[in-house]
């Protein structure tokens, strides 16, 4: 018994592991090649940095969502929460002027970018924590809690902003959205740093491994002595934190916080995570995959716009490619195992 399992165990799995991450990556590479052939200026650094900057907002949330989905959870509220945190950041950044739809471009009365950032991530983390609490203590499934959250946070955002945007931040805050370090956009750097940190946490800390364990089998994790409820709450705190961070970057980038920001982001974000190979049933997935998934969506959108494809056709193509990318990944995995 032992000897047979041993051999197949080793070789089979490692090759599989490798190609698992290659599935979406291969797909991404093919897309880039196609778009470059169609229009060579597609791979101009300017455009690539554009893409990086664009994916950094949903990408940041997708990092947090990876934690959530790894525990077999889901968070549908991220788009609304982003709008909410953005509005909070704006109120803080602009101080008392915020409520009166102020349009002055210099936010001298405000509390500055640091306070705004802090407020956004704290509010995001708290809101996430509350949802985690409802999930673990009230035993309401994540889908339901965060669906409720989606509605509640949007309502709160509209209430505090009275429907309008809050605009005009000072230059130091705007730098986080529009600045460059060398040739690289600041949002892209924030995203990269966050991705690396998340990768380290998930792969090399006890906490990260516990997240995988809870997603793999919550009951077994509990019996093995993990504090399942705390871990579950923590992942919603994390995704909330990232929604707050993304909100700050987005507001900085647009020089405005809008009540309608982030509508539909939940689906883009979940797509990125799932295309990246993370299983909706929990326990399987990686940050690397999520980054590739986010890049794939970003490249696809940008590439289609780049070629001025009609928006109707864009919808059709993006939907089909989403399905195909995952189907290809599945097929590849089943081939490898053979």
């Amino acid at each position: 018994m032992t000897s047979t399992t041993e051999q197949t165990g080793r070789s089979g799995i490692n090759v599989a592991r490798l190609l698992m991450s290659f599935g979406p990556l291969m797909f991404l590479a093919v897309l880039i090649i196609i778009f470059t052939v169609l229009k060579p200026s597609f791979i101009d650094p300017i455009n690539l940095f554009n893409i990086l900057r664009q994916i950094s907002i949903t990408g940041l949330i997708a990092l947090g969502m990876t934690f959530v989905i790894l525990t077999a959870g889901i968070d549908l509220s991220v788009g609304s929460l982003l709008a909410f945190c953005g509005m909070v950041a704006a109120v803080v950044a602009k101080g008392g002027a915020a409520n009166t739809l102020s349009l002055s471009t210099s936010g001298t009365q405000g509390y500055g970018w640091f306070a705004a950032l802090l407020a956004a991530v704290i509010v995001g983390a708290l809101a996430g924590g509350m949802q985690g609490f409802a999930i673990t203590r009230l035993k309401v499934p994540p889908f339901v809690v965060t669906l409720g959250g989606l509605t509640v946070f949007r309502g709160l955002t509209l209430t505090i902003s009275n429907g309008g945007p809050i605009s005009g931040f000072d230059a130091s805050m705007r730098w986080f959205g529009t600045g460059l370090i060398g040739p690289v956009p600041v949002p892209a750097i924030i995203f990269a740093v966050a991705a690396i940190l998340c990768h380290i946490v998930l792969r090399y800390t006890r906490y990260g491994r516990a997240v995988y364990a809870v997603g793999g089998n919550a009951e077994a994790a509990r019996l093995s002595g993990l504090r399942v409820d705390r871990i579950l709450i923590s992942v919603y705190v994390i995704v909330g934190f990232f929604a707050g961070l993304a909100a700050f970057v987005l507001s900085a980038r647009l020089n405005s916080s809008e009540a309608v920001a982030g509508i539909g982001y939940e689906l883009t974000v979940i797509s990125a995570v799932v295309i990246g190979g993370t299983s909706l049933f929990g326990g399987i997935g990686s940050v690397g995959g999520t980054v590739v998934g986010a890049a794939l969506i970003g490249v696809l959108q940008n590439g289609l716009q780049f070629n001025n494809v009609s928006s109707y056709t864009q919808s059709i193509v993006i939907g089909l490619i989403l399905i195909l990318a995952v189907a290809f990944d599945r097929w590849l995995k089943s081939r490898v195992r053979r």
Binding site: L250, V260, N302, F306
Partner: protein, 290 residues
């Protein structure tokens, strides 16, 4: 007698334009001393229909509504008319319903035309254009798009739309779409946008590339856009006088509900104008800017 109650319904309170509209309705209702039942269509025809139905059950005395869709709201409004409730439509009309008390509006198609004409005036010798459209399928997006094309299609030789994409009326999307457009096509002469949010997003994209002389046109004359026009960042924005429309509509509705006063005109049409740096004072919401 009891205080009158009217229903004020707008298509989507997620957008500042309609928030302003409802606020004006509210203010005028207060001035007229009537109760107001508020309704937000939440961008859904069934939702706005349901709100009208609920209002009819509650026997409101009049309805002031900016319908989400010219066709889809027709059955509900027809029901109201049949129930003997006076209806005044604002901004958008409903199609094929007899017996509407009055319509107060500025046509979105006309607005689109005005926007394009302003651009044509700025570039008499022709121009390369980007065009950012609104949410696909949404009424104003369709009408504004139509207006723009009404003007530009006959002038195809001089004015080429080299990049035409939807940005769903959203600032963030307009920013990324414009970035892609700039990277693919280089700098255009002008960008025509179906609302101010998208114009402000396009503005950010151009500013990031230091393309500061691109003429960007918005729509709705939101305070934020007015500031940008004042500062020379936007070339113009279309003013449809939503506040004036709203107040006029409420006045007509209340007058009729009180003592059957027929409106002087069944059709009050305000001509949309393009607000530029030189005619900023015509903007309805200038007082909200600082």
């Amino acid at each position: 007698a009891d205080k009158l109650t009217i229903l004020g319904s707008v298509p989507n309170l997620g957008f500042p334009f309609f928030v302003h509209m409802l606020n004006e309705i509210k203010a005028e209702a207060q001035a007229q001393g009537v109760n107001l039942t508020e309704s937000d269509g939440q961008n859904s025809a069934p939702k706005q229909t349901a709100d009208i139905e609920a209002a009819l059950v509650q026997k409101v005395n009049a309805i002031v509504i900016s319908p989400l869709d010219v066709n889809a709201l027709a059955p509900a409004i027809e029901e109201a008319v049949k129930a003997g409730v006076p209806v005044v439509t604002i901004d958008r009309r409903v199609d094929g319903v007899e017996g509407i008390l009055a319509h107060v509006g500025a046509d979105n198609v006309k607005g689109g035309e005005a926007e394009a004409q302003a651009m044509v005036a700025a570039f008499p010798n022709g121009a390369k254009l980007f065009h950012l459209q609104g949410q696909p399928g949404a009424g104003p997006a369709i009408d504004r798009n139509k207006g723009v094309h009404n003007v530009l299609d006959p002038l195809k030789d001089k004015y080429q739309i080299i990049f035409e994409q939807t940005a769903n009326f959203a600032r963030a999307e307009a920013l990324s779409v414009t970035e892609a457009g700039l990277a693919a096509n280089g700098k255009p002469d002008a960008i025509i946008c179906a609302n101010d949010d998208m114009a402000l997003g396009a503005l950010e994209a151009c500013a990031a590339r230091n393309f500061n002389d691109v003429k960007i046109y918005g729509f709705d004359a939101l305070p934020e856009a007015l500031v940008a026009v004042r500062d020379g960042k936007l070339a113009g924005t279309v003013e449809q006088f939503p506040g004036q429309q709203s107040r006029t509509a409420v006045q007509i509705a209340v007058a009729f509900a009180r003592d059957k006063t027929e409106p002087k005109e069944k059709l009050v049409l305000l001509t949309p104008i393009v607000i530029g740096k030189d005619n900023l004072d015509k903007a309805e919401r200038l007082n909200e800017t600082k």
